[in-house]
Symmetry: C2
Subunit: 250 residues, 2 copies
């Protein structure tokens, strides 16, 4: 835990910076390629500690991490997945091509991964007055999602793959994991060492959806404004990036 | 954008790993210490590109980033903050000590920072069928929060401070930034170079709330189980960490 203790105002070196970007750009939502290898305690601790050092509204730290190895519990979660997957498939009855593509995708590694982690949100933590949560209640949940992203990046840095299974019923998770009514499950994650991290996200590679241009999700001063005098040089760079991408796609 | 292009399955070196942890542990929610220095285009692009490479449910990339420099717009946002802050203060009428402490805290840097960024969520992006969002609708919003955490860490690595202002009315933001009804503001961020990143979070340092023990937010196999045979070695380490922290606090 040295890094946590020695946090300070110093700047990152070139290769330290590169490390952060490498983790961000090569992080994948992993559903296959899990290998049969346990995650050592010290590695898991670093990953959990990274999650625990996420930002949280009013410093409320409203997260919990339920670590799961038990096969019987995982089997029940898998059954929830299978039910929800069936429901999703029938939602695509009107689009047979999309449905066929959906069916072909591997969407979870509940049983193949080394461990599962359910991350939850407790809105009562340090409440009822949580500084900064009085105007926008949902900021509590956002804090937990930030913790999940920290966990994901730390896992990537450790060579551990993470897959987020969202094709599940929260009511099932609440029952299976004995989560009390005031606590909300946010994510169900599968963690394990992997034989590889894919070059691109599975859904991009499979042609499910394309990566959007950065330029198309950025606007200036107000919604929908893609050109601005006070942002002229950035606008120009963004424009060139989009052109480059269009050429790539030809 | 080299790091994005060269993302692959390779592992991180020791100092690259250290870089990720340094960013995670020394990231701060910054409200003061902003210095008068512009953020160069290439730095801002790297930060935005890191956000754009967050995980998203069904690869839906449902985020937008509204970049704001305009003083008049910022002034309006500041007024929303002041109204919401007053509301919060009156909520503490029954606890004068806490109220006094709240009033003493600096909670935003809307006007002092170099730029503001409003991050939004568009649930219609690539919809209506978004893979993996059919069972748990909120996963779309969680994706945006993960993007915010990527942005925050990249900014930290670049020496840029980020402050998340949550004491705002979303209705005000929608009006001020012309955000359409189907899009939801998720975060209002203030970005700028800073003279320092504080050793500890402001609210921890000010004694508003303590950092929780990691052990107290981790459980095993089911909610509330803090001791488990199949997790005995991790339980033992967690136990020792908690004891250590208790001694620190004496």
């Amino acid at each position: 835990m040295t890094a946590a203790d020695s946090s300070n105002g110093s700047s990152l070196t070139g290769s330290e910076k590169e490390g952060l970007y490498k983790a961000i750009f090569s992080r994948r939502d992993v559903r296959s390629h899990f290998v049969d290898r346990e995650i050592p305690d010290d590695v898991l601790l670093r990953i959990l500690n990274a999650a625990h050092h996420a930002p949280s509204v009013g410093f409320s730290q409203p997260w919990n991490f339920i670590l799961i190895k038990d096969r019987a519990i995982r089997q029940k979660v898998k059954e929830s997945f299978l039910r929800e997957r069936s429901r999703s498939i029938s939602m695509l009855d009107g689009n047979k091509q999309r449905q066929k593509q959906y069916v072909s995708l591997k969407l979870e590694g509940i049983l193949e991964s080394a461990i599962n982690i359910c991350v939850t949100y407790d809105p009562t933590r340090f409440g009822p007055f949580v500084l900064g949560r009085t105007s926008i209640e949902e900021t509590g949940v956002y804090s937990v999602a930030c913790a999940i992203q920290n966990l994901w990046l730390a896992a990537r840095a450790e060579g551990v793959g993470v897959g987020w299974v969202s094709i599940l019923a929260n009511e099932d998770l609440e029952k299976i994991l004995a989560i009390p009514p005031h606590v909300k499950p946010i994510a169900y994650l599968c963690l394990g060492y992997v034989s590889e991290f894919a070059e691109k996200p599975d859904l991009e590679r499979a042609g499910w959806l394309p990566r959007m241009d950065l330029a198309s999700v950025v606007c200036y001063e107000q919604w929908g404004v893609h050109d601005s005098k006070s942002w002229s040089s950035l606008c120009a760079i963004m424009g060139k990036m989009s052109e480059g991408n269009r050429e790539d796609n030809i």
